[in-house]
């Protein structure tokens, strides 16, 4: 009866194809493999879904169109008309996170978004991109983002650092939210799975909880992709629709 429960084992990175360039380890890992799968699946969905261009969409075309419309709506309502040009970016981001999350739910696969470096890289791209967009669109005027209106000058001394800080914290909150949700959810699944395996017949109870948890995780996977995309939209809207 000595089944070891190692709930964190699922997050280990394994080198599938060891590769080194100079002293840098650029091995093709299981995380990289899952990312490749996600990208291939998304491309396949969109390419195959839009190939027929039927007036009455079939299943795949419906799926492709629904995802397109969903993100297009999100960009339209949150950024406004100036956000149309950023639709491809938000769409890519949303689909990638959504597929990475869902692929992670398949047993024995790997959850890419449970690695903070992955989510932080995504969030950093958003953060840097939004800042560049703001500077390009508004130039020096972009710094007014940090100056609240109608505030007496002495208070600005205090408020501007606070605003600056709360702006710089964005990539951290954005990445930690996604990472923490994924890590916690999958760890919990593994713990209850371990219980179910180790306590014999009574294991049906943790198994039942696990079934409910999987349902919750499906919700969380979709919700977190949505949250990431919508926060990207809101940040973009900050930079584009400056007061």
């Amino acid at each position: 009866m000595a089944i070891e429960i190692r709930p964190l084992e699922q997050f280990t990175i394994e080198r599938l194809i060891p590769l080194h360039i100079g002293s840098v380890d650029v091995s093709y890992t299981n995380a990289a493999f899952l990312m490749t799968v996600a990208v291939v699946l998304i491309t396949a969905l969109i390419m195959l879904g839009t190939r027929k261009r039927a007036l009455v969409p079939g299943r795949w075309q419906s799926l492709a169109e629904m995802s397109y419309e969903f993100v297009a709506d999100m960009v339209e309502t949150n950024v406004g008309h100036g956000g149309r040009e950023f639709f491809p970016f938000v769409f890519t981001l949303f689909m990638f996170i959504l597929f990475a999350n869902f692929l992670g739910l398949i047993p024995y696969s790997y959850t890419v978004t449970s690695q903070i470096i992955v989510t932080f890289a995504l969030a950093a791209v958003v953060f840097i991109g939004v800042t560049i967009v703001g500077i390009v669109k508004h130039g020096f005027h972009f710094l007014r983002l940090f100056v609240p209106q109608g505030v007496p000058a002495p208070l600005l001394l205090l408020l501007v650092p606070i605003e600056l800080l709360s702006y710089c914290i964005r990539p951290f909150t954005l990445s930690i939210r996604l990472f923490a949700n994924m890590l916690a959810g999958h760890t919990m699944l593994a713990i209850f799975g371990g219980f179910a395996a180790s306590i014999g017949l009574l294991g049906v109870f943790p198994l039942g909880i696990n079934i409910l948890l999987v349902a919750l995780e499906v919700l969380v996977a979709a919700l977190q992709a949505y949250v990431f995309a919508i926060l990207t939209c809101l940040y973009l809207s900050d930079a584009i629709n400056l007061h």
Binding site: V56, Q149, L165, I176
Partner: protein, 168 residues
Amino acid sequence: MSENPAGHMNSPKGVALTGFEALFMVRRAPAILLPVPVSIVALPRMSESRPPDPLARLGEKIDKARAERVRRQPAVGDRSAMQQGLGLGVRIGIELVVAIVVATGLGWAIDRWFGTRPWGMIVLFFLGVAAGMLNVYRAVTGVSGPVGFRPPDVGAAASEGRSDDEDC
């Protein structure tokens, strides 16, 4: 699950039945996920009772399904409100904690670089608390707009009008 699509297809002239159907669907809203594909699948079967313009009828059906969906919205509302609440709660926790941790860490790093121990950490800790509070306040009131955005005259109206502007 299996009887629901049947209930849908058995009403070729759904217009007469809409009242009943709507009632039906409000009660079972979670079970009926995609009314649109069902009606598309059902289309060929009913083609004998109506004049032959499949596209016009399809448009009609889609419009009807959309209207139905809009009408059904409130029934689903309370469940998704709970989910949104959950999302908002998680967001607030992370917002507050991360702001403080990141700011304090930044202060610690500044102290190490400039040798100003303990002051950088102390000052940035309090700034972090303030920034975290500010972010939470913005997340809750729905004033999720620009970081320093609070137009002086529209301020009160904005916090009311945009509070449903959802972002969990």
